[in-house]
Symmetry: C4
Subunit: 246 residues, 4 copies
């Protein structure tokens, strides 16, 4: 295998698609949101991207191995190219190079603009799920301003990993890119924050999607939170109750 | 030295051998199993593979140095190519590249399929030594199912290192590969788990091997466990009693 | 993006400029000093240097992203080329390669000599702000001796990062380079130490600059120190009071 | 600068020299021993080897900077090429590549055999300073056996870093290489262990050298040990008394 290895699975019927990125991160917000799109629409696996910058690992499902990768799915119905996966690069240069390969593939499919989805940690349980944004260029920012909040100095620590570099390297290639970040406590997988991000995204990109399955996961998470609170007050839950935490 | 350096020692008399990998890992199960094959059969050293991804180290035996490497031995009697050694790669990309070189050498010798041997930690002392499996493709899985157990979501953390990548990169080259993992506590070198793995392997690959020397090591380990238990109850063993732990 | 990517913004009107480096380090002394020059003079952004050796990160200001980089500004009025930024390289080889690229750019602009600005930690609050120096060659040392103090064995641990390598790699290219290090406690951002460094630098390079804004920042820091001392004695300041610490 | 950069300072008058390596390590035994040779004989600086695998650092002496490097000195009187320095490589591959460059330079000067000098930690204060050896090939081992002790399984952890790789990579190039390791506590710089190593080396290589200056340093170290022992019994020494520890 080379440093990167692309396995092309299908030639999708896309026009000038929008790239949606949802890799693991704070509260798994971006990952949950992107995977929700794959569940709700007819999505076709387009390509897998392997790399020696991913962990040296296979995952096992029903006895079959799958080499660490990220996956691109096409949703022709709403002209989206969706990037998901279980891994980020494991080293500094790897983040840069992985993002460059992702943008290569995006450009191969005629991507005109991109949205990185993620969470921004607040450190406390969320009542109202705000979404904040950052954009790689002034035009895109102006276009998005009616639909999503831009704050003066947030996120204070910048944006790290593939999401951040999609903005940074996307800008250098002339691909307008924005990051939509749902507020989340940072302690738990957060389907409600994922829904908030998708509600902003569907206004921007103009599609409609249902949220029943995310609501189900959100209710399961609320059960988990309740169990944890009980646990703190002395009751001991079974292992099974905790299965949705991470 | 280049990134990798192959020292070819002999040209083995193999037909379409099966590659058996047993490098250090949980309970040293894979390493013990592979080394047991080298002891029980007439095995010839075929090649050493050196790499700057191994620790910068020589081992010393009777005053002579040996540069860090992994070794390939041939067992012509049962058409096996056996990979053993004391080291894994020390960095992320190194795992990928090392496994690629291993597969290059395997292909040079006409390897048609491969088995990675290892242990899977249970966290408690084992009564019954189960072996679980994972396969790189559906046909191999189907073929193995009568002989070894596949579980839905195990091992939960996937398979890491050379064993995992043999499946992942083997699949990408079209070499059917399986990993056989003996359950083991994870706390001690475990010759019994190695025997359990070999008993599955000999059914699959069709060879016969005795287990006397592994049984001897297992008994020594049981002595060690007994000493540790006594130690926990207050008795102080001599250093010498502990020599077989790691 | 390649390992390094230079974005040339303007072609500055410089003659044989002096390179001034002020990247993050002890007490942010070098960074404060270099940024003060950019504030006090008419400075033009000349180039941005991006690298996969920087953190995989964008900073966000008013909703717009900026990929991690270091920046070169020209100050034609006093013939200076000033290097500033928020990042150092993240890995060992990266420090060497980044410094080499910086020197490439410096040579492209005809730089004849260079000064690295920084702080040297004393571990205690400073009364009198001394500046110590180190030079890459004997002639420069001799020239600087009337203007700045050279000590026999200081700094004891040498000079690490871009500042150190500007001396080491500058010497190998024949660019006389010196490092000016302001004593600083090492615990706080230290505008007074930055001023002390600039006062030495302006004698050496022959320019004049006001210090009002640095004095303002120094007073703010003194307020912070006072708050901390009160805090240690039991009073609880608001979060806002601490905003200038790092 | 490239990955490695050789600065040739002089063309030495050597015949078929022996390479002596003494870089930092356990008890600084190898470094002390090699530097003692440079002090006692007329030694000429032959070359400096720079590398991005060394720390990104300059050392400062009397206000002048010196980029991190290792140095080769020639001692024509006894036909030795001596490698000393303050640094080891900072990464895994760097150890391999650095040792390869060192062997390149050694071969350029016609080196026929090499000795790596070092310490082996015992964990307790030493009464009798034994020296143990390891050799890269059987002939050299046989030749050395009358002069130095080879033990069955020591050092148990092998030999790490440049010293170990000189054996491992030296063997692969056909340069007979041995490592001489003086027993040392591992807690302190140990001039007595360095002397023990040199006494073995001078028999093997056939030269004569005085030990007065090493004895002086040994006495200073004994003073330090005494101070520490007193300190443990309650007396507080001045900082100055501890200057020779590291």
């Amino acid at each position: 295998m080379d440093e990167f290895d692309i396995e092309r699975v299908a030639d999708p019927d896309l026009d000038e698609p929008v790239l949606i990125e949802g890799l693991p991160g704070v509260g798994h917000v971006g990952k949950l949101a992107a995977e929700h799109l794959l569940e709700e629409f007819d999505a076709d696996l387009v390509a897998r991207l392997y790399s020696e910058h991913f962990p040296p690992q296979v995952t096992i499902e029903e006895g079959r191995s799958q080499l660490a990768c990220v996956e691109f799915h096409a949703i022709p119905e709403v002209d989206l190219l969706v990037l998901t996966g279980d891994h980020q690069a494991q080293d500094n240069a790897g983040h840069y190079r992985l993002t460059d390969r992702i943008l290569d593939i995006a450009e191969d499919h005629g991507v005109g603009r991109a949205f990185a989805l993620g969470g921004v940690p607040t450190g406390e349980l969320i009542e109202e799920y705000n979404v904040i944004a950052a954009a790689s260029d002034a035009d895109l920012k102006e276009e998005l301003e009616p639909m999503v909040e831009f704050r003066e100095d947030e996120p204070a620590g910048g944006i790290v990993g593939v999401s951040g570099l999609l903005l940074g390297l996307g800008e250098r290639r002339g691909i307008p890119t924005a990051c939509l970040m749902g507020e989340t406590s940072g302690y738990l997988v957060d389907p409600k924050s994922a829904r908030a991000v998708l509600e902003v995204l569907q206004d921007i990109v103009d599609f409609e999607v249902g949220y029943d399955s995310l609501e189900d996961r959100a209710e399961e998470m609320e059960e988990v939170v309740k169990k944890i609170q009980e646990m703190e007050q002395g009751a001991a839950p079974s292992d099974d109750d905790l299965r949705y935490i991470g």
